[in-house]
Amino acid sequence: MEEAAVLSRGSAGTDGEIDPPGLDPPAIDPPRTLLVPFSFWLARAAGASHQSDPPDPAALRDAIAAHLVGLGWPGAEPLRWAITAVDPLRGLQLEGVGVREDPAAQECR
């Protein structure tokens, strides 16, 4: 660690320094941002008005958010997701990761 500090402080110049002092926020326990992996099948009609219509990304985001609520994560939203399979019977397979921030933490934001 000492070696790293020397490398940076000795040559960082005006660009910056390692861990600049005076910017430290308070300690961060417990976590207030949570990540929620998900995977589920969505009946095709939920993402399209007709079976053959392309899925509507806004409707899919809403469906993912609703799924996360069903998993016990109200307020969570999709962070990264994709349709990873299409099945004529089961619909669209959605995989991804949702993110939820503790509402109490958001009061400051």
Binding site: G16, D19, P25, I28, T84, Q93
Partner: protein, 432 residues
């Protein structure tokens, strides 16, 4: 005869799904370069451009992180080119000292050899705890045990004047794993990719500035049969140089409209961040507001003026004051001469996209779906297979099929020249 104007084109090669082109170590870059030449303006994401120690900088290519790319494609963000920006370095506390020193030396090299503006360096307060996983489809995904630590470190960098963030997290490794062997042999999925995307998505969503990620990993033993597509990751000790170069000219991210997903503001940017400590306030006064007077074209100046905290406060305020229109927030000409393809405000918006190019079996991402919904011509590259079979037929999407990226580039050029791509194929259908 004058050259046709640029045709802004979106290139998407999803990460972590085993794409034959672009699923390894920046091996989508040749395709990106060709498409940039054909279109005159290419928007794409780090997975396409990042080749560890290898990179290519081209002013026609706009380096946009995946979360921001999705929001751009959905019409919720616009892109504002900048001359240069100051890239803060965010290091995971879980990185061992020697490996950390390697990251810092890579950053120093980019400063000394490429002249990039890099710094400061902030270390997370606790190890991030990266976890890797595979979804039911075989796609790589991942999570963090301490996303808060990541975001707090990002807030510190922003408060200290960084206008982009390169994050380096310690990733778990298993040198003997079958998955790694398959990847190095050119037949597997990049197991790290999903978690990398989650890290950069979190940062961009929280801070509203360009961010990208490089994993910290111990060097691997020599593999004489290494696939050429994975070779770029075995040239050096870090994967960081490409990220620093890409971010150094990544465009600013400008929220559009009152109904977008950033309508509540960037969570990590509002005043409460600035007032967390007196030291933060003083750093902000010296760096961010001081940058407000920088003129376009100065390294870092365009970025600070367009996307710094001062500018973003205006954007957030405008949401609660409907009489203050977008043109007031981002006046025309503010970002320099641009490339002749921006709107009156000097911004590149999704409405300007003339084509989107994606692997034929990976059309189920948000950016591609959003473009298709808007009627942007969708070029599906059948010659870039992946482990997914989410193609145009399965989704009910109308696509222009291309057997390779070379053909895709020809199609983009045809669109740019105002040619109907179908007229280049036989047989021709008669008019009815």
């Amino acid at each position: 005869m004058s050259e046709a104007p640029p045709l802004p084109t979106l290139l998407v090669i999803p990460t972590g799904v085993g794409c034959a082109v672009g699923g390894y170590a920046g091996d989508g870059l040749p395709a990106a370069r060709l498409l940039a030449a054909a279109s005159g303006c290419l928007v794409t994401h780090p997975n396409v451009m990042n080749g560890a120690a290898l990179y290519w900088s081209d002013r026609r290519i706009h380096y946009v992180e995946g979360w921001a790319l999705d929001r751009f494609a959905c019409g919720e963000l616009a892109l504002a080119p900048v001359a240069g920006r100051r890239v803060g370095l965010l290091l995971d506390a879980g990185i061992e000292p020697e490996l950390r020193a390697r990251q810092l030396q890579a950053a120093e090299a980019c400063r000394a050899t490429l002249g990039l503006s890099i710094g400061p360096v902030v270390t997370t307060e606790v190890p991030l705890g990266v976890g890797l996983s595979l979804g039911p489809s075989g796609s790589s995904w991942g999570t963090l045990e301490r996303p808060d630590a990541l975001l707090r470190a990002g807030e510190k960098l922003l408060a200290a004047g960084a206008t982009a963030i390169a994050a380096v997290a310690r990733f778990p490794e298993d040198p003997g794993s079958e998955a790694l062997a398959a990847y190095r042999a050119g037949s597997g999925v990049d197991a790290l990719a999903g978690a990398e995307a989650v890290i950069s998505h979190l940062l961009v969503r929280h801070l509203g500035i360009p961010c990208a990620h490089a994993p910290a990993l111990a060097p691997l033993s020599l593999d004489p049969d290494l696939d050429p597509r994975a070779a770029a990751e075995e040239l050096g000790h870090t994967f960081l140089p490409c990220v620093l170069v890409g971010l150094s000219r990544a465009p600013d991210l400008m929220p559009l409209g009152p109904d977008d997903v950033t309508a509540g503001g960037w969570p990590g940017r509002p005043a409460c961040v600035a007032s967390a400590s007196s030291g933060q306030e003083s750093a902000e006064a010296g760096v961010v507001h001081g940058g407000a007077g920088d003129g376009p074209g100065r390294p870092g100046g365009g970025s600070r003026q367009a996307g710094g905290i001062s500018g973003m406060e205006g954007a957030i305020t405008s949401r609660s004051n409907e009489s203050w229109g977008r043109a007031d927030r981002w006046p025309a000409g503010r970002f320099g001469p641009g490339q002749g393809l921006m709107g009156a405000r000097g911004l590149l918006e999704a409405a300007s996209l003339g084509a989107v190019v994606a692997p034929g079996g990976a059309l189920g991402g948000e950016a591609v779906l959003a473009c298709a919904a808007r009627g942007v011509p969708l070029i599906a590259v059948a010659g870039n297979p992946c482990l997914l079979q989410v193609n145009g037929e399965a989704l009910g999407l109308e696509v222009i099929s291309a057997s390779s990226y070379a053909e895709a580039a020809g199609l983009v050029l045809a669109l740019r020249e105002g040619l109907e791509p179908a007229m280049l194929r036989r047989p021709l259908q008669r008019l009815e």
